[in-house]
Symmetry: C2
Subunit: 332 residues, 2 copies
């Protein structure tokens, strides 16, 4: 049995989306057991509306909610009855539980999990790895994108090893193409951190390192994994998402400004719907925190039931395929 802790609070569509997503994930996997954290009464009430395998569900009452303004250290100390912090405690203490899926506040989840859960042997610092779709229909991971702003060349090497194993395991990509985010593609580009990291990555045998990458090529499909410090990773992913969203917004506004555009868009509505679907992060699973002994998957704050279900599937796959053991053996 694979036991996964589910944080039912924290997301924009919590607890409904989280509970519905859990019920669907339970249907996908016969050996999945879900431990739900949140307001027990509310959870029981919502669950009663579904046909679900009650023998594979338990509930731990933790009705408080962390939010984006909480600092991780304060949340751990002061919000012990919040669904997220209580779930992390259970994850730490209960050997049977292998993973936590949450759509709550990113910063608190990452900070509290790093503080409370042990690391895989040899891991210097855990790293956060979100996934974006590429224009050729594949995916690209960005690691680190949220855990460590200051980092060393050795950490960048470890991110490459961990995230490479993750992408191969969850997305079925054999030897993912790994690039180092830099200001130019030539080997000698960048600051000392990048120059040193380039050398380490080039020598690392467990990955398929293809060289430096410029940020403009993120969505091109040339790479499956970009390795960077968390500041650059944050800038990279948010500016890419932001530019795509702003462009779609502008297109929409311009379409609405004339009847001939509206008519054209009407003809192309199927295509525009596909574009929107393509841009929908909910189709690509959650972001994972790599390097801890337990699996942590963070769904987007606005995750609906389907997105949340995908995050649980993702956590299930990571455990089922022994990702952490693979990471440990690649690192040591």
């Amino acid at each position: 049995m694979i036991k996964i802790a589910i944080d039912c609070l924290g997301g924009d569509k919590s607890p409904n989306a989280n509970i519905e997503g859990t019920v669907n994930a339970l249907k996908n996997h016969d050996d999945l057991f879900a431990v739900l954290f949140g307001d027990e009464k509310v959870i029981r009430e919502k669950l009663s509306g579904f046909d679900y395998p009650a023998e594979r569900v338990s509930i731990i009452h933790a009705p408080d909610e962390v939010n984006g303004n909480d600092k991780p250290i304060n949340a751990v100390r002061l919000k012990k009855d919040s669904s997220m912090i209580r779930a992390i405690k259970e994850l730490r203490e209960n050997e049977e539980i292998s993973a936590l899926v949450s759509s709550g506040a990113s910063g608190v989840l990452v900070g509290a999990a790093i503080a409370r859960i042990g690391r895989i042997e040899g891991v210097r610092r855990p790293a956060f790895c979100p996934i974006l779709p590429t224009m050729d229909g594949s995916i690209v991971g960005i690691c680190d994108s949220g855990a460590n702003i200051d980092c060393t060349p050795e950490q960048l090497r470890q991110y490459a090893v961990m995230a490479s194993a993750y992408i191969s395991c969850v997305y079925g990509i054999d030897s993912p193409k790994v690039a180092l985010l830099n200001v130019g593609v030539e080997e000698e580009k960048g600051d000392e951190l990048r120059k040193e990291a380039y050398k380490l990555l080039k020598e690392e045998k467990s990955i398929n390192f293809v060289g430096n990458m410029e940020s403009r090529d993120l969505l091109s499909g040339k790479y499956n994994l970009v390795v960077c410090d968390a500041f650059a990773g944050n800038v990279l992913i948010k500016s890419t998402e932001g530019a795509c969203l702003e462009m779609l917004k502008k297109l929409k506004k311009d379409i609405m400004s004339s009847w001939i555009n509206k008519l054209g868009a009407l003809l192309m509505r199927k295509m525009f719907k596909q574009e929107k679907e393509f841009m929908n992060y909910q189709n690509y699973g959650g972001s994972v925190l790599l390097g801890l002994e337990k699996t942590i998957v963070k769904g987007h704050g606005s995750s609906g039931a389907r997105a949340f279900e995908k995050c649980i599937d993702q956590a299930y796959t990571m455990i089922d395929k022994n990702l952490n053991e693979k990471i440990a053996s690649a690192l040591n």
Copy 2:
């Protein structure tokens, strides 16, 4: 008379676009004098095809060309007869020349200009400031975006002061909204560099500091200037451009994939043309190197005649409005 050095080589459409752009800029300003650098014979031949004020043009023969693979230090030493390096020498030695406009290799131009041209009093490090259009029809500058990967809080403060004066002077925006690029909008976000810079920017009276910015809001129109180190600036601008271009490419491909989409796009062709024009960096002028005693404007490598003309207009405006004096008085 305002004398500007023109690098006729280095761009994809050089020397034709550069020469035609210069002729047009000479028509825009009666007191503009252009000193053209390149192959004298070729320049004379091209010029003879235009009706232009010959008394306001001189040519310095420098037929070599620098390229993207040259390192600045090598170019300065070994490519003395290249149009760019010869122009920088003239800019340094000839007091009458106030500016240089080039569409040649960015790295060489920035590196060689910093090495050879004196700084404005008080400037720690010059900084590179490209401009992007925002979705509400305004502009946003990104400074630094190419000169200094390692920087201090004081440098970030100086970038804000210099680029704020520049945007106000050239784009006519009164008290541009200045933001610090960070991983979140809250004051306490980021590493030590960002935390210290935030304090300095908040205290700086010559600018309109509005706080931290997340990269996803770059094109939103909420900000006119983003202050950052050159690594983050490079990631920010290239990922934004890359995402927009990749999206347009995908739209185009999807349009071509079905006749009904083609028909819809035919109806919307005027709108798509406008979107493309909106995305065309050539409409927003070149990038400037701020902090040197002489004005340096870098046009995009693929600048056509109109884009190159705009870069000369931009350099003219910076000199005409005494930008460097304004920067000196704001800094000291």
